[in-house]
């Protein structure tokens, strides 16, 4: 079984991992302990006391609230979006690039979508302004609920780790 040190996983998250190790990660069978080490790294990086249950993106996590034990979606700045089963985008701020002027801020003319066909929806944290996602749908498209993880099965059966308590 391939294994990596905590320092290597730290470097992977920081984007400073050497290429040889990165290549080994790509080409060798996966290390079963990665998830636990990954959580350890991320938990050390955040400033809030809530326990990370599942990372969603570079600045967003499902966490166990230290106060209520409820699972919530949380930005790394500390902003709390919603319960973990809800679509966090509905609790974010949105900016829609739906005209040529707004698109010209992002790409040169001729290299941006025609907003009669496609718009960009940028989802920001209302507190810190980090951009968590960019959707590029046609107008009218429902806000997509991207991911509904089955965390219970994942913890209990797939990685066989103790699952953080979850208050109803």
């Amino acid at each position: 079984m391939t294994t990596y040190t905590q320092e290597q996983v730290n470097n992977m998250v920081a984007g400073t991992l050497d290429w040889d190790t990165t290549f080994r990660m790509l080409s060798m069978p996966k290390d079963a302990g990665r998830f636990a080490m990954y959580l350890h790294t991320l938990q050390a990086n955040v400033t809030f006391p809530d326990k990370i249950v599942l990372p969603l993106s570079p600045h967003m996590y499902i966490v166990q609230s230290v106060k209520t034990k409820k699972w919530i979606v949380k930005c790394d700045c500390g902003h709390e979006f919603c319960g973990y089963k809800e679509n966090w985008k509905l609790f974010a701020n949105i900016y829609v690039r739906d005209n040529a002027e707004a698109m010209a801020e992002v790409y040169p003319k001729f290299m941006a979508p025609d907003t009669n066909w496609q718009v960009y929806r940028e989802y920001y944290c209302p507190s810190c302004g980090v951009m968590h996602d960019v959707e590029a749908p046609v107008p009218w498209y429902p806000v997509i609920h991207d991911f509904e993880p089955d965390i219970d099965t994942f913890y209990k059966e797939w990685v066989q780790m103790p699952m953080p308590e979850r208050a109803a």
Partner: protein, 774 residues
Amino acid sequence: MNMMSNKEVGFADLLKNGKTLKQYRDEILARTKETGCYDGLKTLALRDRDPIKYEKLFSKLRGGLVHARETAKKIAASPIVEQEGELCFTLYNAVGDCILTSTGIIIHCGTMGAAIKYMCENNWEANPGIADGDMFTNNDCAIGNVHPCDIQTIVPVFHEGRLISWVGGVTHVIDTGAVTPGSMNTGQTSRFGDGYMITCRKTGVNDTCLRDWLHESQRSIRTPKYWILDEKTRIAGCHMIRELVHEVIAADGVADYEAFCQEVIEEGRLGLIMRIKDMCIPGVYRKVAFVDVPYAHEDVGVSSKCAKLDSILHSPVEMTIYKDGKWRLSFEGASRWGWHTFNAHHVAFTSGLWVAMCQTLVPTQRINDGAYFATEMHLPKGTWCNPDDRRTGHAYAWHFLVSGWSALWRGLSQSYYSRGYLEETNAGNANTSNWLQGGGINQDGEIHAVNSFEASSCGTGACALKDGLNHAAAIWNPEGDMGDIEIWEMAEPLLYLGRNVKANSGGYGKYRGGCGFETLRMVWNSQDWSMFFMGNGYMNSDWGLMGGYPSATGYRFEAHKTGLERRIANGEAIPLGADLDPTAKVYEQSIDATAVVKRDQQCITTEECYANHDLYLNYLRGGPGFGDPLTRDTKAIESDLNQKFLLVEFARKVYGAVVTQDAKGVYHVDAEKTKARRVEIRKERIARSVPTREWMKEERTRIVNKHASQAVQHMYATSHALSEKWATKFRTFWDLPADWAVKEDELGIPSYGSKFRMDLSLLPDVRTVVQVEE
């Protein structure tokens, strides 16, 4: 009592077990359904009894397939095959289930298997008969091929008079005799313009091509020299592999060979499940992709007015990963097929999926039908990826296949990211275009057609720990190569005036998408030459991931009456190199002011006349980005600026970089000032944005008022018409009345196909093979 012989009743007994191929296939499927294991194999007896022998069989056969591809491709003259490697060889069992495949365009592990299954289901063994030494040729898109230019040669393998396997070889030919030249075309609106179409036709006996086939096929296409050498390539490879199978049987015995052929498929099924459990997280993932179908424009000249409308292809995917590691991929809500060439047979979609997956989820040499048997695939009948009409055109199925899979790719990347496998997390791929295509009389005075395969080296998507690769790959060929300029100039009457990295083509992000590239071509020494563009223009099809931006869209540049012949003779300036900033229109400054220039986003066109010294820009797209661009390392921005991968205006606007340029023209990014500027930009973001639920009220009003372009409304109309389930979800999300609908007949455009359609299965004596849940 008189008894009819097997010959008289049309029963060939090819398997020497008293069963037809269909009966035998039905039994395998029944055992698979009953047990959940391929062919009922609950244990892998050979592998468990003699694992070393099992692995040796794998190595011999897989090595032989790759060897055959590498050797046979040297026969071809077409750069598409010889340079780009657009060929593949696959070994099947007797009923057409894929055992192993070579490198190359491995989408065809399924498409050639579909052709074999079609022959099994339609009693080919009785008529036209299947015998040792036969060769069958197929490129029929209605039974599973991707597009007509993928010509397949299929050879049965017999052992002591018994059919034990099939070998398939495929090459992407340069022309198929379609309405317009080139291997993938836009001028036709249905199958009847897609070119020469061959349905599992017996084209050879006793290892010899039939003369009627040789004569007919070479005069049915524009490029017979390339065609016949491609044919020899396929036949040589198939025969090498057939010989290999005989050698393996001689060395290891037919029983173990046949056991291996079944067990390795079950092993492939188990392998996918294991890999999903190793790398993913169970749950439900939803993603979507789109691409533009801009046919209303005057530069799309088609023979059918019913095709002259703008539309959008829609590919929503709901990926469910179950507790047991199996998965379900549902494309419920996909839009309908159309009067263009971007439709795809369901086998093209599902088989092609494994090309994508072998670059992410299952990077293994054991590519076979096992993964198919571990997957529930829901492709609703009538959609662009499972048409229900036998008239559909498929020549440029790749226009959306590559994009359709991008949604699935991002779903998997979410899984990898959450689990901590950042090295696997990848925003996606480029829309692999533009396709420079056309034809006429070439520099050698011959009727010719071209399809520049530079698109096999587009930018790749950004990863969660590094940038995407520049001008590197195409999702449809893991071994893609852009080819040498010198070879392309021999194959095409088009001189290179530039070949450069395309600035700003990769999606921005903490890690940016790989940049594409651009080549400026000047028509030279041709006669009666025409070319066209094929790619995305008004939309991008590959979204960014987790805050990264999508890659840039495409655009076209062409110029006529340039005055370049005179300017070259006089030693005046001519356009050279990159179209660095398309807004600056730098090429126009080195051609005559009276030149006719088209610079816009109409990236689907049909044949345009080109004279010598006219110009054509072939812009190959970039990949999407990962993560918020405001978190990108300033040194990486500086590097991008100095390599001309990024325009300074967008370094400032998108990345928040505070940039200076020194006297030598070198850019410098001030890290501290950039940090401060980024804080301001974050505040600006908050100031200009609104809570999502507030915005939704405005958007709902626009929906109620039907305020959207015709293309957008047409897409929704076709998706809603095919799926009441998806339409209900849409209405529920937007809290619309139950009777709210957008319908094609409200849009004032032709809606042929919206109500009346006829499937291939309705033709007499045709039994189609359905391999998905419809």
